[in-house]
């Protein structure tokens, strides 16, 4: 391995081709693609865990899997989706797209970025390898509170591998996030001032700053948990228990926005391009995204309202205040469409669905930001519904908006529009069937993370609807995979700019050449340089 890495160093020897070349390339596009494809594989794995869970709780008193297996399934579902799919996918989009949007020839510190990818992947594989141990996979939940997760209450190698997996994945993501921030600081093309960076790049900058600032807390808390599990006695007593939660959520809430902003940025690009209008209210948007990021590191303890160990009013204040920046984003999305020329392609439709469905997650987020409401719905299915509306009905739809938008850039081939719209329809039905009934179950008293429930509580019907919905979501994902397969095997060439794009990644061939741009860049005078060019040409034709 080390020999190939040396060989891949630029300027020493010819690059190896094939698999070795793809695995060791320092081209940001290759690293981004490798990270994205690995994350997508973990998404499918995490989805399988979800289907198994939904099978177990589709009806009361089922015995499809054991309690122990169910606990491993929900732990690994959450861990896989958060540490190995939504967050790293946000970083993958940044690594692939940000240098292109900045007009740069590559990333800062590409070998460090590559190292970060391999550290993250090792962490992911170590975490999943816990399935192969005698005591089973990690089984203390994706946030693994102490003392449940300590060596006394959850002994065994499986949980150790989980802790080490999270630790390594977090280190890898921290390194990659820092490299993206460095790239934005140092590699912008001449003319690309900070306030001319595209909207998507701004959302990534805000996210990667949060990665840099908040992930050390996760790295620290996992290292301490590992020591604690092996006799270190770190998180003891009331304060130790609360300390773990404070440290964990100091990472855990900012990461929620790392899992949101880039997909918001992707949806924003799709809406602006699909409306033939530049994104509305750029300055206000940038200010609101930075306010959002600043607030997001001060809201963490709203996860702890029922512990009795935090100042509830302060965290209720910061959490409710998020309405302001979130409201600005919705305003900008709508105003971008107003008086535009809308083309409702799959990317645009996924982006609009992202905004509509995320809104349900956002508005119910206002509910759980109120301690009095949270005293009831905390740790119930209401919360499960709320964050799946943000993460799945929101971010994953934003992700698909980005996929339909940028797939031609990455592959040079268009995805099938009809299959895309079919996928969207299937996923809208499946998503809302799965997650909407959870609000009612939570309100009615169904706690999260129970592997069984008795018949007399009357939760069977709604749970069955949810499980059927989960199966429909799986069909939607399958439709997407078929679309990718068909589109790559019977290619419809896209050309460099199939959508009349606004930003610099559309000013180069698809896929972009090794150093990104073959010709000189168009002048950069705003956050939509290609739209500027077209508008000037139209003016020239008129005069």
């Amino acid at each position: 391995m080390s020999a190939t890495t040396t060989a891949a160093a630029p300027g020493t020897r010819a690059r190896p081709g094939g698999w070795v070349g793809a695995a060791t390339s320092t081209d940001h596009k290759r690293i981004g693609l490798n990270l994205g494809l690995s994350s997508l594989a973990f998404f499918l794995l995490g989805g399988v865990f979800a289907l198994l869970m939904r099978s177990q709780i589709a009806q009361p008193n089922e015995h499809f899997v054991s309690d122990n297996t169910y606990n491993q399934l929900f732990t690994m579902h959450g861990s896989t989706m958060i540490y190995l799919f939504v967050t790293p996918m946000a970083i993958a989009l940044a690594i692939y797209l940000v240098p292109l949007q900045l007009g740069a020839t590559g990333m800062s510190a590409p070998r460090l970025t590559l190292t970060g990818f391999w550290v993250w992947l090792s962490g992911g594989l170590i975490m999943e390898s816990s399935w192969l141990t005698a005591d089973g996979a990690g089984r203390a939940g994706w946030f693994s509170y102490t003392p449940l997760s300590n060596g006394t209450n959850t002994p065994g190698v499986g949980q150790d591998l989980w802790v080490m997996g999270v630790l390594l994945a977090a280190i890898g993501m921290w390194v990659m996030g820092a490299c993206v921030v460095a790239t934005i600081a140092r590699r912008r093309a001449p003319g690309m001032s900070l306030l001319r960076m595209p909207v998507f790049t701004w959302t990534e900058l805000a996210s990667m700053l949060m990665v840099v600032g908040a992930f050390p807390a996760l790295i620290l808390v996992m290292a301490l948990l590992f020591i604690d599990r092996h006799g270190g006695r770190i998180f003891t007593g009331f304060n130790g228990t609360i300390d773990y939660q404070d440290l964990f959520w100091f990472f855990g809430h900012p990461v929620v926005y790392v899992m949101f902003f880039p997909y918001l940025g992707a949806a924003a690009e799709a809406i602006a391009v699909g409306s033939h209008k530049r994104w509305f209210g750029y300055t206000a948007f940038v200010a609101s995204i930075m306010l959002f990021a600043a607030l997001s590191v001060s809201v963490w303890a709203h996860h702890m309202f029922v512990t009795g160990g935090v100042t509830n009013q302060y965290f209720a204040f910061t959490s409710t205040a998020l309405i302001v920046p979130a409201g600005i984003e919705y305003f900008d999305a709508i105003a971008t469409m107003v008086r535009g020329s809308l083309v409702l392609r799959a990317s645009m439709l996924f982006a609009i669905t992202f905004f509509v469905q995320f809104l349900i997650g956002g508005l119910t987020g206002v509910f759980v930001a109120s301690p009095v409401l949270d005293y009831h719905v905390n740790n119930s299915y209401f919360v499960i519904a709320h964050f799946h509306y943000t993460l799945f009905a929101g971010s994953v739809f934003g992700f698909f908006a980005g996929v339909y938008h940028w797939f031609p850039k990455v592959t040079g081939a268009l995805l099938r529009e009809r299959l895309g719209k079919l996928q969207l329809a299937i996923m809208i039905v499946g998503t809302n069937m799965t997650f909407f009934p959870m609000f009612f179950l939570g309100e009615d008293g169904m706690p999260r993370r129970i592997s069984r429930y008795p018949t007399h509580l009357g939760w069977g019907t709604l749970n069955l609807i949810e499980s059927v919905g989960a199966g429909i979501i799986a069909l939607g994902v399958l439709t997407f995979l078929i679309n990718v397969f068909v589109s790559l095997h019977r290619r419809v060439p896209s050309g460099p700019d199939p959508w009349l794009g606004h930003t610099l990644e559309w000013a180069t061939p698809s896929p972009p050449p090794p150093l990104n741009f073959e010709t000189s860049l168009p002048p950069i005078r705003s956050y939509a340089p290609l739209l500027d060019l077209r508008q000037r040409e139209a003016e020239g034709a008129r005069s």
């Binding site: 209008k277 535009g340 020329s341 009095v372 905390n378 119930s380 129970i450």
Partner: protein
């Protein structure tokens, strides 16, 4: 216990929750409707026009500033309601003199309810499945502690839960306005048989409760 303490004067957590919820829900639905209608209008009005027709209008910071102020007003209104309710649920209720005190201990995977004034101890575990018995309309103080990991004491009927954190005993005061049998359960994942950590609450008239307690928990309820 004193029969003079009127139920109306006590903080009813269910009422506080329902009141707040009934204000938050219409605001949320209203906000959702406005945004969805605006998006739907754009989709119908501006679709399939030639790209040259797209306007170049792309900024109005004064409008957005005014809009942000409106949102800040909504935030202030919601926080006012929440803080008022939270003051009652957390602070006012803690000042109430309880008619009954129950020491609640969570352990893997059952609940122990100890009525120290009556020398009665009840266990929710698989053997016996004993109920938590409380009087209606009176303040009941629960002292919450755990023997092992974090558990959470949740009674959906009164819309309230609180974590049981190792190393400290926390107290909450609840009122059960209505008689009946309600479900309760652990709401913080606590290991292998978390799903089994359920219990039942039976709220009975104060006189019936007194008779039950004086009998050492042996009288039928």
């Amino acid at each position: 216990m004193s029969a003079t303490r009127a139920a109306a004067a006590l903080v009813d957590t269910r009422h506080e929750y329902e009141h707040l919820f009934s204000i938050y829900v219409p605001i949320a639905i209203g906000g959702f409707a406005v945004i969805v209608l605006a998006i739907a209008y754009c989709l119908l009005r501006y679709r399939r026009r030639p790209p040259e027709l797209a306007a170049r209008w792309h900024e109005n910071n004064r409008l957005e500033g005014g809009y942000a102020l409106v949102l800040a007003g909504v935030v202030a209104f919601l926080l006012y309601l929440t803080f008022t309710a939270e003051h009652r649920v957390d602070t006012v209720s803690a000042r109430e003199r309880p008619s009954v005190t129950v020491d609640v201990t969570g352990s893997k995977w059952e609940w122990t309810f100890r009525y120290r004034d009556y020398g009665v101890t009840r266990r929710s575990g698989t053997i016996g499945r004993q109920l938590l018995v409380v009087p209606t309309g009176h303040a009941v103080r629960f002292n919450l502690s755990t023997a092992d990991v974090i558990h959470a004491f949740w009674v959906p009927e009164v819309r309230f839960k609180r974590d049981l954190i190792p190393g400290a005993t926390q107290s909450v005061t609840l009122v059960f306005p209505d008689a009946g049998t309600f479900q309760g359960q652990c709401a913080e994942f606590c290991g292998l048989r978390h799903a089994d950590m359920m219990f039942s609450v039976r709220a009975v008239a104060p006189a019936a409760f007194a008779a039950w307690a004086r009998s050492g928990g042996k009288a039928p309820i």
